[in-house]
Symmetry: C2
Subunit: 177 residues, 2 copies
Amino acid sequence: MSFAGEQVPGVEQPAPEAQGFRLNHSMLRVKDPAVSLAFYTRVFGMRLLRKLDFEEMSFSLYFLGRLDDDEVIPEEIGERTAWTFSQRGLLELTHNWGTETQEGFSYHNGNAEPQGFGHICFTVPDLDAAIAWFDANEVEYVKRPEQGKMKDVAFIKDPDGYWIEIVEPARMKNVGR
Amino acid sequence: MSFAGEQVPGVEQPAPEAQGFRLNHSMLRVKDPAVSLAFYTRVFGMRLLRKLDFEEMSFSLYFLGRLDDDEVIPEEIGERTAWTFSQRGLLELTHNWGTETQEGFSYHNGNAEPQGFGHICFTVPDLDAAIAWFDANEVEYVKRPEQGKMKDVAFIKDPDGYWIEIVEPARMKNVGR
């Protein structure tokens, strides 16, 4: 593998058996889908690609992604499901019915103990403009860009408290070297 | 938004301010990067796009993704970092130095209590072939496809116990309806 001359322990050649494997989505449980959907569609510009309801097990799944400009989503519902699972880099939100009305109910964001999952990250074309937009929407911060050591990186919270990293690619060139 | 006639509470039009926002990655903490990198590069066919070391804070970041066939990664290291943050649907693994030698150390996968993060999902061109491949690699299962209600869905565990859903898009057409 070409990696700028660096040999990294553990890195191997992809097996032919793994050809076509694609990272389709990451799943987060959410307390209230109406709140989360408003946040991810309006504030982050994502589209709801597919909603799947499992009545017998009392939960619903929401698949969110960004469409390329010329992309057309199949109208037929089965084709639409297959198409959704053919995408990459989606966000899946799981709603276990009833949590939205349970007082004091909340999910664990993985950064407090016990740790595990860390965050999702959105890149934005203009970090300053994005920060102004988040401020206009009264989004809660874990870290504003001007705080801490990494001046060009922000962390905000989604409605469930999951962390979202915000970076502008062009301002990341000197990170980690 | 065109959503096969369905109105979903919370879904709004994307704001123009969110144009160009892109879901770049999801981050998981891992105990031993050599083990995780072998798993995600060889078994899942991912490529290590960029490794960032933060000596002062004693951690490293590994960005994994899949390259399109004709894609060329910039060789210059700053350009390569900016390019990595311009991608979508990557997996970021965080290694806090030293965990790999701590006996009994493990991360929380979000599915045991306290719940939050659920899983990542890979889609595969052929579910049966993928299962044979995972069996050949002695991958641990949460649920084999033939177990439980959803016969076309498997869940396996990565080396830290994070769940990975495995589906074949064409076999998902009748799910959730």
